[in-house]
């Protein structure tokens, strides 16, 4: 379970919350979040809120991140226990050490505004549903891959790639139900995955913030599906045939690590968990390069190739 709270709740109080289901977790928020409309469950009971955020004591990361449609300065601090995320021009966010609480703490600049703060602003929702949520999930050993994903024959195929490497275009082509009845889009940009006793599972219920709430691809899919294959989308020269190129298990683990969202915000214990998890995933899930020309005409050939696997 993950609970989102607005402001410091050290005093403790009871409030009603909106209940969502994301990445296999019950998520309760003291403020309704329009981006999560597709994942809303029934109204939850009143929730008693009492969190004591730990003090920030060590800077883990300082740099820029793509948040809310622009590059922003972001800092990750370790607390005792937990994390603080500090993004320029926004509230600070505390994530508890068990990943079960995310608290938005209104900063002094926001407090100076005359109107009482009753809603989470756009940038703060982007942080909450971006790095804060990803960090809370990681603390519960659910890792968010920067990947598009499709479902084929009840199993998930993830496509990794930097922005502009064609992963969304390929997934959108394969997942267009009217054209490809056996395929279904599962993720446009972020795919949460975790290990269980049977292998690696994917959790398609996750807000794909680049898509509108009404167009979330996970609608109608099971909450949890086996992750069958991972491909790294790789650009080939025009008019060369599509091909699948195997890579070593070590390269596979490195690819999963490199394409995990927000890993640079982790502290050393979480980095270690993440390292082991990515290595373990390569025991169950083949990772390969999917090399094809990034042109529309090549996509049917890529589909054929994948269907033959």
């Amino acid at each position: 379970m993950i609970s989102f709270y607005l402001d410091d709740l050290t005093a403790g109080y009871a409030t009603s919350v909106t209940h969502y289901r994301l990445a296999g977790q019950d998520v309760c928020s003291t403020q309704p979040l329009p981006e999560l409309a597709a994942f809303e469950m029934s109204e939850a009971e009143h929730l008693f809120c009492q969190i004591s955020p730990g003090a920030a004591n060590r800077l883990l990361y300082q740099g820029s991140g793509w948040i809310g449609g622009k590059w922003r300065e972001i800092e990750s601090w370790s607390a005792s226990p937990g994390f603080w995320l500090k993004v320029a021009g926004a509230s600070n966010f505390y994530i508890s050490g068990d990943g079960q609480a995310v608290v938005q703490v209104i900063n002094d600049h926001e407090k100076s505004s005359k109107a009482p703060i009753t809603q989470i602003s756009g940038i703060n929702r982007d942080i909450l549903l971006g790095p804060a949520l990803v960090l809370a999930l990681a603390l519960q050993e659910i890792w968010c891959l920067h990947a598009s994903a499709v479902v084929f024959k009840g199993q998930v195929i993830a496509i990794l790639g930097e922005s502009g490497q064609g992963k969304s275009t390929l997934a959108a082509y394969l997942g267009t139900r009217s054209v490809q009845p056996d395929w279904k889009l599962a993720a446009d940009d972020i795919l949460p995955v975790s290990q269980d006793s049977n292998g690696t599972v994917a959790w398609p219920y996750f807000p794909q913030l680049k898509l509108p709430a009404r167009a979330q691809p996970s609608t109608g899919l099971p909450e949890q599906l086996p992750l069958a294959r991972v491909f790294i989308s790789t650009k080939a020269p025009l008019d060369t045939p599509a091909a699948i190129q195997p890579i070593s298990p070590r390269q596979s683990a490195q690819a999963l690590i490199r394409h995990t969202v927000a890993a640079r915000l982790f502290d050393p214990p979480l980095l270690q968990e993440h390292l082991f998890a990515c290595a373990a995933m390569t025991n169950h899930v083949p990772v390969s390069r999917l090399v094809y020309p990034h042109q529309r005409e090549a996509l049917p050939h890529v589909q054929e190739l994948l269907e033959k696997l």
């Binding site: 990361y61 070593s248 298990p249 070590r250 390269q251 596979s252 683990a253 490195q254 690590i257 490199r258 890993a263 640079r264 050393p268 980095l271 270690q272 390292l275 082991f276 990515c278 290595a279 390569t282």
Partner: protein, 109 residues
Amino acid sequence: MTHLDSEGVIVSKKSHEITLDSQLQLSKTVLFTTVDQETVLLNSQTGKYFGLDEIGTTFWGLLSKNIPPRLAYEMMLTEYEVTPQELERDILDLVGQLEKHGLLEIIQG
């Protein structure tokens, strides 16, 4: 023979004169795991990941058991088809790269 596959920049110039008799220890900030006879290393301070191939993994595994580099070299010489000169050069090159990336510390040159 390449042993270290890095996402960062590999600097081949060594800051210390490293020999097989140097005393080495794994850095306190290094995290690692072995995957099918190869190793993924992480410098938790810089957040950079590196990969070691099979031969690099053998050397790293021996170092992690506190085996001195010269003894590791002698053990590897019996295991791999390589000339003594080649193996020494490769090991010293690898040690230099590991040290540059903060994965290994040279206690005494």
